[in-house]
């Protein structure tokens, strides 16, 4: 049988193989592989799930069952920038709903949808662990803390204007952020290239898409 991932980039094929072998049980590679597959397909498409199923030796239904349990495996197409606005209790208390309104307007997309130009997908999310810097937003899972409605709007306009290939939390925080949960410490060079958490073993900024 030919490899189900022969269309993947060479580095992602290698990553997939390494992941499958790196756990005591191949099935443990499921979630890492779903992230890689969503990089390859821009989202966790049906083909992506079929490929992951074939790699592990499961049915596609079993993979869909897992993928659909988690919020970060997007089974619908998402924009270049996934803007996640936290609206849980701490952010709510500090004005998260205003931030969400501003983001929806600036992106021209209601939460749970993608802007007509395909650039932004807006969602409101539950607590992202930035309560000390509430309200907080993530762009492709890169964090900005201490936003206001106005700053959030500027953030979106900036994304529209500069169209960054790599989304860097430090840069966005510096430009638009405010109160942080804690001192973030030294600079962090890596950022996200897609609406998938930027993490080298599953795909990193270094290698692009």
């Amino acid at each position: 049988m030919s490899s189900p991932i022969k269309k993947w980039s060479h580095s992602n094929q290698e990553r997939a193989q390494r992941l499958l072998e790196s756990y005591p049980d191949r099935r443990s590679a499921m979630m890492p592989l779903l992230y890689i597959a969503s990089l390859e397909h821009d989202h966790v498409s049906q083909d992506a799930m079929r490929e992951v199923a074939a790699l592990i030796g499961l049915t596609a239904a079993q993979v869909e069952s897992v993928a659909s349990f988690y919020t970060m495996f997007k089974r619908e197409e998402v924009g270049d920038y996934l803007v996640s606005v936290c609206t849980s209790i701490s952010c709510f208390l500090r004005g998260a709903d205003d931030v969400l309104d501003a983001v929806e307007q600036a992106c021209d997309a209601r939460h749970g949808s993608t802007s007509p130009d395909g650039r932004f997908t807006v969602e409101h999310v539950e607590c992202i662990g930035a309560c000390g810097g509430a309200p907080a937003v993530q762009v492709n899972y890169e964090l900005i803390e201490g936003l206001t409605g106005a700053k959030a709007q500027q953030l979106i306009e900036w994304l529209k204007d500069t169209r960054p290939q790599v989304v860097l939390a430090d840069e966005m925080q510096q430009l638009f952020g405010g109160q942080r949960s804690f001192d973030w410490g030294g600079p962090e060079p890596d950022g996200a290239v897609a609406p998938v958490p930027a993490f080298a073993p599953y795909g990193s900024t270094a290698e692009g898409r």
């Binding site: 790196s22 756990y23 005591p24 049980d25 099935r27 443990s28 590679a29 499921m30 979630m31 890492p32 779903l34 992230y35 592990i56 069952s65 897992v66 993928a67 349990f69 988690y70 919020t71 970060m72 495996f73 996640s84 609206t87 849980s88 209790i89 701490s90 709510f92 208390l93 500090r94 999310v125 539950e126 607590c127 992202i128 662990g129 930035a130 309560c131 000390g132 810097g133 509430a134 993530q138 899972y141 890169e142 964090l143 939390a169 109160q179 949960s181 804690f182 001192d183 973030w184 410490g185 030294g186 962090e188 890596d190 996200a192 958490p197 930027a198 993490f199 080298a200 073993p201 599953y202």
Partner: protein, 430 residues
């Protein structure tokens, strides 16, 4: 910010506390050297037990006792729970981003003590920065010989894998986390069997929280009894508290337990912004029943004192609400969170949390009915019979009962406000 056990390095070295160079320079991996060089696994376990450290993830079960339950079958696993997702908590995030080597050192020592040669750090997917920092630290540790084969020539070997979650609060529950790590839906398992007997891949497994494991190097360096001597007897050591909401100085604070909530909110937290009055606070994350100033300002911040007052310190997330807070709206937000995060496998949680959310939403939208208060409480009672804390449960895990906390809190402390809201809306609708 205090600088007792966990946070002194990051406080003193704001730009590079996460690097191996700074870590070693500030005494890092000395505890590991001591553990591997001078101590037997049993001796380490004895020190941890002596420390009286109670698990920092929320349940507060003594870590040393938990370790004692690990079954002898092989292989065994250590899994570190970095799925910090309880609304209000962000202390593990700081520990992972700012001092990842402290966590790794704790993991190596713990693995040695537990007879484990394979460990995992499960980090929630939204914490990409934490994952990168921990992964980079792991790479550095391998390079420097603190991980991998024959660590420091001791003959002990350990591999650590960072595993990213996919966005599911419930995976913070240890058996759901194990299912997730096995590539399954993050549904909590029935207990027994407990993970220490049948955990990851049905093998004996210890699941510890990031903060718990981060304490291990200090305990090994300074001895369990030194740790036990810090703070109240049954809340030994320090605790990272995350303070958020309507508070002047939000953030993580490493404290010695034993102060009052008044001290915590008004001194450490700086009080309520803009001169507003304190209305209520959540003492231990969204799951915990609320505290109010009239009753609880002089209650002691300790695991047992908070429990004695009908709530819990949990993972140490304090969410402060001032007088402007619409408590029904706040409760709705929290209930909505639990409904959204319910795994859906058991009936009372799947159906009940959503029902509570819907009723609260209806009240907020002006369609509340007088009988809705009783309805909310009876739905709650069918999820968490008796409405006590710690809760009795009709559910598999405590997520469903957690959604009950805000409901019982607002009906207990703010009934006039709830009733007024229902009545006003009724009036408005005419």
């Amino acid at each position: 910010m205090s600088d007792l056990i966990l946070t002194s390095r990051m406080t003193e070295h704001p730009t590079d506390s996460h690097t191996i160079g700074r870590f070693i320079e500030t005494g890092g991996y000395e505890a590991l050297r001591k553990a591997l060089g001078e101590m037997s696994p049993d001796e380490i376990k004895a020190e941890v037990k002596l420390s009286n450290m109670r698990g920092r993830g929320g349940a507060g079960f003594p870590t040393g006792v938990k370790w004692g339950f690990l079954a002898p079958a092989e292989p065994r696993y250590l899994v570190v729970n970095g799925d910090e997702s309880e609304p209000g908590t962000f202390n593990d995030r700081q520990l992972m981003e700012r001092d990842p080597h402290q966590l790794i050192e704790g993991m190596v020592i713990s693995s040695y003590a537990l007879g484990v040669d394979r460990a995992f750090v499960y980090i929630r997917g939204e914490y990409a920065r934490s994952a990168r920092r921990v992964q980079r630290a792991i790479d550095e540790a391998y390079e420097a010989g603190y991980l991998g084969e024959n660590i420091l020539g001791s003959g002990f070997s350990l591999d650590i894998t960072v595993h990213l979650g996919g966005g599911a609060y419930i995976c913070g529950e240890e058996t759901a986390l194990l299912n997730s790590l096995e590539g399954r839906r993050g549904e909590p398992r029935l207990k027994p069997p407990f993970p220490a007997v049948e955990g990851l891949y049905a093998k004996p497994t210890i699941v510890n929280n990031v903060e718990s494991i981060s304490n291990i190097p200090w305990i090994v360096s300074n001895g369990g009894s030194s740790y036990a001597a810090i703070g109240p007897e049954r809340s030994a050591g320090t605790k990272m508290l995350s303070i958020s909401g309507h508070i002047k100085r939000p953030g993580n604070h490493e404290i010695i337990m034993g102060m009052t909530w008044r001290d915590l909110i008004f001194d450490l937290g700086g009080g309520i912004p803009e001169g507003r009055a304190l209305k209520a606070w959540i003492p231990g994350g969204a799951s915990s029943p609320w505290f109010v100033p009239e009753e609880h300002l002089d209650t002691i911040v300790s695991i047992d004192d908070v429990a004695a007052s009908g709530s819990m310190l949990g993972a140490g997330a304090v969410v402060v609400m001032d007088e402007t807070t619409n408590v029904v709206a706040a409760a709705h937000r929290i209930v909505r969170f639990f409904a959204h995060e319910s795994c859906g496998q058991c009936t009372p949680c799947r159906e009940g949390t959503r029902w509570l959310e819907d009723v609260l939403k209806r009240i907020l939208d002006g369609d509340g009915r007088p009988q809705d208060v009783d309805l909310l409480l009876d739905i709650s009672d069918n999820i968490s019979p008796g409405l006590l804390w710690p809760p009795a449960m009709t559910t598999i895990c405590p997520l469903g009962p957690s959604a009950v906390s805000p409901v019982t809190s607002i009906t207990r402390w703010f009934m006039p406000e709830v009733e007024a809201m229902i009545a006003a809306k009724e009036l408005a609708h005419g």
